[in-house]
């Protein structure tokens, strides 16, 4: 491996990391919002919306992100909706992530015993108060390991952003290999930067999971 080459590539990877993180985290935020709303819709069995949410989940969970992005970025402009690549990345990742987040939060919601709802109701709380103060906080903390796994999954999925001209980590690596043919150096930096991006999340995940297990069993 050539250290000078590594040095000269690092700024490019750093830019890519920032872009990946920027789009990644915005997309994840969007997916969390979608996840919460969707899970609430399913939880309260809101008429019509419930069906739409179901279809949305099935479509986005059963097709690759690549193909989804392709449609948002290349097909929508043909019918007059034009969005920048970044917006598209955020939107695509958010929509895909939303489908996964809904499922995770929903299974968190389902794991909360009915008696919790009933005892809140018998204290005179409304359905909405019960959901916000009693059910949701518990469901979220039950879902945290799952949510973090989704976050890692989504950050890794950013690798298909190259399709829509976003210079993410993966694209930077492929691009540099194509131009200058320093395969080993490029892949080494790719792994390194993925580590920088994902290791903290992964460690956090392990930590939270352990804490939750303690929480469940007492001390």
């Amino acid at each position: 491996m050539d250290i000078d080459i590594l040095k000269s590539y690092i700024p490019l990877y750093k830019d890519a990391l920032f872009l990946t993180m920027k789009i990644g985290w915005q997309g994840i935020l969007l997916s969390l919002i979608l996840g919460l709303v969707g899970a609430a819709v399913l939880h309260f069995k809101v008429p019509v919306l419930k069906v739409i949410t179901g279809i949305y989940i099935e479509i986005f969970r059963n097709t690759p992100l690549l193909v989804q992005l392709f449609f948002i970025y290349f097909a929508l402009p043909k019918v007059g909706v034009k969005i920048t690549a970044e917006t598209c990345g955020v939107l695509g990742l958010g929509m895909l992530g939303g489908a996964y987040m809904i499922e995770t939060i929903r299974s968190g919601l389902e794991s909360i015993p009915v008696i919790q709802t009933e005892s809140a109701l018998s204290l005179g709380m409304t359905k909405e108060q019960t959901f916000i103060h009693v059910i949701l906080p518990q469901a979220i903390s039950m879902s945290v390991p799952g949510l973090l796994a989704n976050v890692i999954f989504l950050l890794k999925e950013t690798s298909v952003f190259s399709t829509i001209s976003l210079m993410d980590l993966m694209f930077t690596a492929k691009d540099l290999i194509g131009m200058y043919a320093k395969t080993i150096e490029c892949l080494f930096l790719l792994v390194l930067f993925y580590l920088i991006m994902l290791l903290p999340v992964s460690i956090l995940g392990a930590f939270v999971e352990r804490r939750m297990r303690y929480g469940q069993f007492g001390d």
């Binding site: 008696i115 009933e118 007492g218």
Partner: protein
């Protein structure tokens, strides 16, 4: 008006399965009514109907002059008049003891945090748990949890208290501390409907005993002592026998 609860011709079905048939009951202020009966006879369902957790198919339930109608908006008003404690697992695990207790007074009755906290601490003190106020439910024993649940219900100043087998999931010694708390409430004049399998406790606390079987009130007695010694119906006699050996 000393009649707090009036149930007339109550019928409850799950699908085609009639779980409660033509129940009639009237409870006066300060009365302690104990409901006993075999498993699956409809005891829990009955209590759940009373505070609108279940929709009823026929009949009328009136609490303190207001009709109970599940699903209606006003049901939350009504539920504030009715405190309910379940078998277990009902404390909110993500909130401390104190937070569990003051949540509903603050959110539902819009009482100030200070005022709610003050009263909560007084009540916790009465049941001997004031030093546990910042504990989380998982750090409490089963008996302590149930006493907190009772305090939580009390802080809403309900007119009637409903207890559904509150000791069924507890170890024997903890059973005792919870039942003592309920006895104290009875003495202080609370109106209560209690479902229990603890026969000696039922005998000690009841002003009135209802024996429910297959969704019907089979026997009703204002004299708990004599009911347990000499029930008038054959079904009650058979039921009581399952609690004895030899």
């Amino acid at each position: 008006m000393s009649e707090l609860l009036k149930v007339t011709h109550l019928q409850k079905k799950f699908g085609d399965n009639v779980v409660l048939k033509d129940i009639n009951l009237s409870v006066k202020k300060g009365e302690v009514v104990v409901i006993i009966g075999p498993s699956g006879c409809g005891k829990s369902t009955f209590l759940r109907c009373l505070n609108g957790l279940e929709e009823i198919q026929d009949g009328v339930i009136v609490v303190d002059g207001l009709p109970v109608e599940a699903g209606k908006r006003e049901i939350t008003k009504l539920r504030q008049k009715i405190g309910m404690v379940f078998q277990s697992y009902e404390l909110f695990p993500h909130k401390t003891v104190l937070e569990n207790i003051i949540l509903a007074p603050m959110k539902v009755q819009k009482r100030s945090k200070d005022e709610a906290t003050k009263e909560a601490l007084e009540l916790l003190d009465k049941v001997g748990l004031v030093d546990k106020k910042d504990y989380y439910p998982r750090q409490l024993s089963g008996g302590q949890k149930q006493r907190v649940a009772i305090v939580r219900a009390l802080l809403m100043h309900p007119e009637i208290l409903l207890f559904d087998e509150v000791t069924a999931a507890l170890d024997p010694e903890m059973v005792h501390e919870v039942l003592e708390t309920m006895l104290a409430l009875a003495k202080s004049g609370s109106t209560m409907l209690i479902v229990t399998h603890e026969m000696s406790f039922a005998r000690a606390i009841a002003d009135r005993i209802l024996f429910l079987d297959k969704g019907e009130i089979v026997e009703e007695s204002n004299d708990a002592k004599s009911f347990f010694i000499q029930p008038t119906t054959e079904r009650a006699r058979k039921f009581l026998k399952t609690f004895a050996y030899e």
